[in-house]
């Protein structure tokens, strides 16, 4: 996977995670991140304690001014494995995700 692939996957995932579609990518980094194995299906929120593993991930940040969301895309599988939102974030409109 390259940077463009990661941005494309993250862009497609915006609507699923109620991130406004007009938010544009503002940063892309490749890092090793830690994931907690849990029964929790969601990739959002703070996971509870549990066994962990590390993955090489592309961190794609979408945003507008101080608001934003960071998608972590597993470099090996192409899956979205974590979504972090900036504090004091935007209001989400469930009807259209925008």
């Amino acid at each position: 996977m390259n940077e463009a692939d990661a941005v494309a996957i993250a862009a497609r995932a915006r609507s699923v995670h109620n991130v406004p579609l007009h938010f544009i990518p503002v940063a892309v980094k490749k890092k090793i991140i830690e994931l907690v194995d849990s029964d929790q299906a969601s990739v959002e929120g703070t996971p509870g304690p549990g066994p962990v593993r590390d993955v090489v991930a592309w961190l794609v940040t979408f945003g507008e001014s101080a608001e934003g969301a960071e998608f972590a895309i597993d470099d090996k599988t192409g899956k979205v494995v974590r979504v972090l939102r900036t504090a004091g974030s935007y209001a989400v409109h469930p009807e259209n995700g925008d």
Partner: protein, 179 residues
């Protein structure tokens, strides 16, 4: 049963006697707050213990708490995560050359080979003049999120007063581990 036998040792009996006496004296002086917190701030240390006929003579030294010392350990590995000694943080200055301060920080941090000095220098935090050195972690040329080592130094005292280490060997297998 003698007084000594009621306690685990003569020292324990002497310790109780001393603090009971101190509390009583403080209460009579109207210092109820000090009386209740005496054990938080004072501690007796045994200097010697000698038999004198049926009695035991215990010589003790009274010490006063100087500062809080905070230590965090990883519950799984027992590795030190951080420590902080407040009284060493005060009255700092910029008298230490920066390269010497980095050397001192390195002695404390013992950065692994894949550590990279990310930032170092003097700054003022909460009105205190400190020197900070921070190392980040790169593994196979990739940054490891969340990993760092930080050492804070009081240049005037030529001492470190704070240390924090969050460091892992990345587990890039499919099998999860406890950490």
């Amino acid at each position: 049963m003698t007084d000594t036998e009621k306690f685990k040792s003569a020292f324990a009996a002497a310790d109780k006697f001393y603090f009971d006496h101190l509390r009583s004296a403080l209460m009579k002086m109207g210092q109820a707050g000090a009386a209740s917190s005496a054990r938080e701030h004072l501690r007796l240390w045994k200097v010697s213990e000698e038999k004198d006929g049926p009695d035991t003579v215990v010589k003790m030294k009274l010490t006063q708490k100087l500062t809080d010392y905070r230590l965090r350990l990883n519950a799984f590995t027992l590795e030190t995560v951080s420590w902080y000694i407040d009284f060493l943080a005060v009255e700092g200055d910029r008298s230490m050359p920066e390269d010497e301060a980095v050397q001192l920080a390195e002695q404390i941090a013992e950065p692994p080979q894949d550590a990279k000095l990310k930032e170092s220098g003097y700054e003022i935090v909460g009105g205190r003049q400190i020197f900070r050195a921070v190392w980040s972690h790169e593994y196979n040329n990739l940054p490891v999120e969340g990993d760092f080592i930080e050492v804070l130094i009081n240049a005037k005292a030529r001492r470190a007063f704070s240390y924090a280490r969050f460091w892992r060997t990345p587990n890039l297998s499919d099998k999860s581990v406890q950490r």
